[in-house]
Assembly symmetry: D2
Homo-oligomer: 152 residues x 4
């Protein structure tokens, strides 16, 4: 797989015993938990939290769709590197891409790759429900600067 | 282990692949999830939900302490029987005991046993916090009838 | 979404407390655990186990890729219906499709849909490794009969 | 709670989104996963892995019993400090104690505390089963040095 040069956020994660299954390898659903943790670390690196606001100022980012291909099993105590990048920022959604590498030497191997699209929801005062809402300008600006630092 | 005759609620649960670990057996922390699911099924059998109320009428039942001993490993696709009983209903807390049996024939084996104490919390209007609160009388009455049906 | 008439296996699953997150809804990664449990129940309905064999006769079915779109949040104690079907049986892989419905009345709502491709691996005597292997004929026959019972 | 001065291993762990539940706090069963990860990091600090050996030299450390009391809820993105110590090394078992602290300032609060006893099992050549076995001398020596460095 050809991995393009681009902005990305790196997150390290050791495979935990409770995340393995009886096949002796990490259970596939846990990759999504690991990637989500990478995403939240990325948000913290921007000085933000993915889950913010209380009462009338509540915001959230449910997942709209996710996909992942698995290339190689990983095992207990391997140190994985998750490489998260932003593919697209649209009106209400952000689409991430991600690659997961193992700690093989001398060259880490690509073990999984996929995409995750999230959507911005905010509390609608009248309905009391969380409904999809445009991405706030300050966040959009911040993400755009991160994606294309050279152009700023 | 001598298991006393008493009221108990039975809940069946098949060991799932994602709940096993690389040792080929169920990961111990998942017993607590299974027992909690048995507890919630017990509450449903009373016409109740463990998590109820909204806004100013919010109630919750955080766990105060839990313990479990493990006697025998269990594996993928085994059908476990969880036997939950009430040890004590106090002013703000309920203490459950539980036994977990496997599907061994002709006699199921005891694979785990433990206790779980939960505490009633309710929203305090002034503070906006969840604080411990006496168990409501109607719930207490219902639990007492379940524990000692003969005396009613 | 137009859901075609076809063979499918149905599996019921109640959303558990430990599978929700602080957003108050099921955490998305748990849908994959639920769908996998539906798959394993489907295999049991065929008189098989997804994980079988010991020593030199070991077989496994790692996931090759998965995807899921999420349409509507689901909450604690909702009873979900997972509808699994087989999209394609190839030389070494099986591709499933799945739909997840909630328990809304009078008409359940589609809450998630996706695909999952799994690959057959078997122990290679010489290498001692699990390597991809053709799907055994008896399994292929059984799956084909399930998919298109009218033609048999 | 009076926390004695003694050897302990410290492990930091941030509460992850997927480890929270609809009550907005970490789900209690996840503390056991976090404590186990602390234990495995402690073993790595000794140059060991909790899960080692293959074929005829297989070793394992199933849990014999665990308990935990919960004093204060913890939330998404809080950085927890897990403090693991060894209470006793017996013939075939190790008993750990643990304390979990949050990141409250200026003084972290104790949020949970408990015990976990594990038992050494090794493959019995004749039976092909994992059976309880004395703790190997080199490990026992290493643990004793860690517990009481002053006396060595």
């Amino acid at each position: 797989m050809d991995i393009p040069e681009q902005f990305h956020f790196e997150y390290l994660r050791r495979v935990e015993f409770s995340d393995t299954d009886m096949a002796g390898i990490i259970h596939f659903a846990n990759y999504f938990r690991y990637v989500e943790s990478a995403e939240h670390a990325f948000w913290r690196s921007l000085g933000r939290s993915i889950h913010s606001g209380k009462g009338e100022d509540q915001h959230g980012w449910p997942r709209l769709n996710v996909s992942c291909s698995f290339f190689k099993p990983t095992r207990f105590e391997q140190l994985l590197k998750i490489r998260l990048h932003i593919q697209e920022v649209r009106n209400t959604t952000i689409c991430y891409g991600f690659y997961v590498f193992d700690d093989q030497e001398p060259e880490p191997a690509l073990v999984a790759a996929g995409e995750m699209t999230i959507i911005h929801v905010a509390l609608k005062p009248n309905s009391g429900n969380l409904e999809k809402a445009p991405i706030p300008d300050d966040l959009r600006d911040q993400l755009n600067k991160v994606i294309a630092p050279a152009s700023n």
